[in-house]
Symmetry: C2
Subunit: 344 residues, 2 copies
């Protein structure tokens, strides 16, 4: 179906030089020098014939595909991306834009960062990989053996072989709980996702717990609501909290993602608890969802677009040999005050 493509042989014939010469000149092969007149003839032939260099061929010649793989966590069904959480869309959008500005394309996979993916990375000759989220520690060793530059995002792995891009999630959890404590709250529940060892949710939970303990409040497991990061889990937790807050004394909730905060609002409303007069709420991420809640959400803000940009720049830096492959980059966070928290 494809039309006849202009080949490198055609360029060589048109310019009156060898195929090897054309290849050296077009690929700017180090150590190969040519008369400027020869270089000009080759470029003239390229222009005259409308030659489009084939990335597959170029990849074989200089071992560069200009492709970056991006591994995104899937839903529990292992079918699709977790796109109902806008964090992922915002991240991916920024990664794609930054890569494109640098002459790279991204290959997105909803697969696990496991052996299967390493095969993909090798067969596709990926120049680098950005891995979002936590995977099994054993997989990092396999990835290391593939010897492809890797940047881990939002992963507190013990493995220090790769550049890591993250925020200080523990500090973020601490800030959220401290903010509520400073407003006079003492019984503060926490609604979060699955507490995978070394994952972001576990870190945020530890921060919440540390802030309470620093304020002299003993940890109470009954105030922890962990489940899937989803709207539905937020609804269920909200209904439970609303159904018991008069007895439990809970006056505030720290929820670890905006998507769950939306569900939490719904569940609290279903159970007859008002935000913020009965229950104050502070969220995490500050995606666009925070602004559509009523009242709008007070939240720990991270710059998701900056996270995506930083991850791409980090992996490109390693590919180009300009940056170390073992850096740890921690991006800033802050608290955005809106209407979902009131003082006691």
């Amino acid at each position: 179906m494809r039309a006849g493509r202009v080949r490198i042989q055609d360029i060589a014939a048109e310019a009156g030089v060898s195929v090897t010469t054309v290849s050296y000149i077009l690929n700017k092969t180090p150590g190969q020098t040519f008369a400027s007149e020869t270089i000009q003839r080759v470029h003239d032939a390229v222009t005259a014939l409308g030659y489009v260099p084939n990335m597959a061929a170029r990849s074989l010649v200089n071992n560069r595909s200009r492709l970056i793989g991006v591994v995104i966590p899937q839903t529990e069904l292992h079918k699709e991306f977790m796109f109902s959480n806008p964090f992922y869309g915002d991240f991916l959008s920024s990664v794609e834009y930054t890569a494109r500005q640098n002459g790279y394309h991204i290959l997105i996979s909803g697969t696990n960062a496991d052996q299967t993916y390493i095969e993909v990375a090798r067969t596709r000759s990926l120049d680098g990989i950005i891995i979002l989220g936590m995977y099994l520690e054993e997989h990092y060793a396999e990835i290391k053996r593939a010897e492809i530059p890797v940047v881990l995002v939002d992963c507190y792995s013990e493995n220090k072989d790769f550049t890591a891009v993250q925020i200080d999630d523990r500090q973020g959890g601490y800030m959220a709980a401290k903010y509520l404590l400073d407003k006079g709250h003492r019984r503060i529940a926490h609604v979060t996702g699955l507490l995978k060892s070394r994952g972001v949710n576990q870190q945020r939970m530890v921060g919440w717990r540390m802030a309470l303990e620093d304020a002299g409040i003993a940890y109470d497991e009954a105030l922890l609501y962990d489940g899937e990061v989803s709207y539905e889990h937020g609804v269920k937790a909200g209904e439970k909290i609303a159904g018991s807050f008069r007895e439990s004394g809970v006056t505030a909730v720290f929820v670890s993602a905006d998507i769950m905060a939306l569900g939490l609002y719904k569940g609290l409303k279903n159970g007859g608890a008002l935000v913020p007069s009965d229950i104050s709420v502070i969220s995490f991420d500050d995606t666009w969802l925070a602004g559509i809640c009523d009242p709008e959400l007070t939240a720990v803000r991270q710059d998701v677009a900056l996270k995506g940009k930083t991850a791409v720049e980090a992996v490109l830096g390693v590919i180009d040999g300009k940056l170390s492959d073992k850096r740890e980059i921690t991006l800033p966070i802050s608290i955005v005050e809106r209407g979902s928290v009131c003082g006691r």
Copy 2:
């Protein structure tokens, strides 16, 4: 940085056959036959040496990259995907999953479907392209010249050179307005995105207008609120409608995307109008956002995941020469009744 890769030459040496023979056998080149013993020796060598075929090399041999390009519309800033609208995330997620199940990867670009993208498609040897949304008619002719299988999604182009996957958006707009008319509403406003010629929003608008005219209601331009498909545009339109509904007599709104419906709710509330007792609302798409509105949204439902799956299967069918490249596939729509519409 990359480790020594097992090359096809190593396989040839191990199996005691020529490189050409290995290539023919591994690529299953048509018209080339070998003794089953030879084929076995080559496969044994592949297993013994842990050979990973290089997709770049394979792409040169059989002209297949097993890459499908996906062009996604950008925000007005031409920087990022329009991911605040969950339609795009749901679509992309389904496209990635279906492609992966078929041994393909997707190359996502936020670029325009213009000359620059054709260069990308050619240099990347894309096997096919899925283009979402409306672009300039002149670009379709350029795409046609590139002779790469293309599937257009949500595009009512005059160009009939490509397979088109869509719903009947005009019918959807008609159904939405008819539903409100059947509930006794006569003054029905329409909140929508930019009315690009032949785009989905224009089709939905025409359907709304036709339903009104069929009911003997003259078109009133003052009831059309077109702008960017965004939460913010919904808020502005909602505030305007709430500020004038007692004079204008508007009792219902047809809004052409869930993301705008969320904004519309906020704007109506800001302006003191209640949903549905003052203003009934019917939306379009029925993404997960429809369920988080309060009251939950009645909406024209389309199956976005099916749309993504259908687009991939259509482009793979053309690539494999099993399907015509000029089909028109129209997916079903329906109305999902929830709590945002009441009778007059």
